[in-house]
Subunit: 133 residues, 4 copies
């Protein structure tokens, strides 16, 4: 499994009139953690794009367990539990002081510049394999 924990402070712009972080931001935080995981294992997303690939989101789901507030210091843990085949997914857990606030998952594929689904490029598979615990 690969995992990474991305830390954020909830921005004022991310709050809503209910005095919570708006629920759409959780997808943005998931993505930030996912991109940091890729950075950390030497696969920066901008290099993946510069090689002609994108990794769009096919589906996403979030469970909001506790309300998250302005300036909360959240840990966004992202986990890749299975080595990517064509279709692969990340799991997420958002915590505040070790209390679980939300969890979720996203599913992905690789596509090329023509918007067609492709097999996962070798440079990606190999790097993942090398870093796998």
């Amino acid at each position: 499994m690969l995992t990474y924990t991305h830390n954020i402070k909830v921005r004022y712009a991310e709050t809503d009139a209910m005095q919570r972080a708006h629920h759409s931001n959780f997808l943005i935080w998931f993505e930030a953690a996912r991109i940091d995981l890729l950075d950390q294992i030497g696969l920066p997303y901008q290099e993946i794009e510069s090689k002609g690939y994108y990794i769009p989101v096919l589906s996403a789901q979030v469970e909001y367990l506790k309300p998250v507030s302005f300036n909360d210091q959240l840990s966004i843990q992202v986990m890749l539990k299975e080595k990517p085949k064509v279709r692969f997914s990340f799991q997420y857990q958002i915590s505040l002081n070790n209390e679980l606030m939300a969890k979720g998952s996203t599913e992905h594929v690789f596509i090329n510049k023509q918007n067609n689904v492709t097999r996962i490029p070798d440079f990606f598979t190999e790097k993942i394999a090398r870093c796998w615990d």
Copy 2:
């Protein structure tokens, strides 16, 4: 069932470097459609809040079927298929020229100002019942 179709044009600010609408916006559009549905049946969300209630999102899920681009004129259809009990859900379909681009659902409860889950207030249940087809 109750249903409403909210129309939007994809804003430039909603696009990302992949030249698509960023996937987090779909939750924002779902919400805009949901609020319009409530407006239309005479239950504007600001009145629900002014009576001391909130309707937070407990969970959300989205399937992204086709890429959505800048300035696309999207129809966001929201459906309430079962009369709300304590926990209730909305379904969504996003279309471009009658082609289905995405679908999803959100789950909700009513909470009060103290952040406690409450039974659904009568004014809400009655209005829903009166508008039900």
Copy 3:
């Protein structure tokens, strides 16, 4: 002068914990109005981009006169008061029921795919001239 009025309802996602529309959204609404103005005169921004040009924002300024709230139905008036030379600007007025809530302006240039400032392409100048009052 060219002018266009874009109408929006303030989305819940656009509010913040101060129970107002967050001030960053005003730039997004200005942009939506600007793009609608271009659409209306037959210069859709996606065509400008497909011809190899972008019109980035060089500077922006906003004055927030009155607080704007959830579900407010705002009119975003955009004005192009002088025919574009190399550097040109749009003015904006945001109103709620004819009361002025905010105003602002943005400055722009044309750039090409290589990120260099270019003179304004003829197809743009000519269309502007034809629509000018």
Copy 4:
């Protein structure tokens, strides 16, 4: 003068179809830096709100000097150059590897829960005075 430097990495969600950070995000980053400055001098914004005050933005202006890209590691420097009277302003400089990418300013007042402008509360003035260099 009081100053603080807030560091961010540009999120994918903050990019737009022009492959840059969308210009509205700069106001959000200014705000995050401003809030960190207040945190650092012992005036966390959530405490200011819990005492019944808000510090809305009266005006904002941004100059975009260089395009900012996905995953850029930006330094957002915020400066309070004059001790707050009723109306006060912050200045900002956004840098990437010591190159100035953008600059701007925001103007503010204190308001109370009734949305009325108030004099700046003593706890605020005193804390600012104590930290002033």
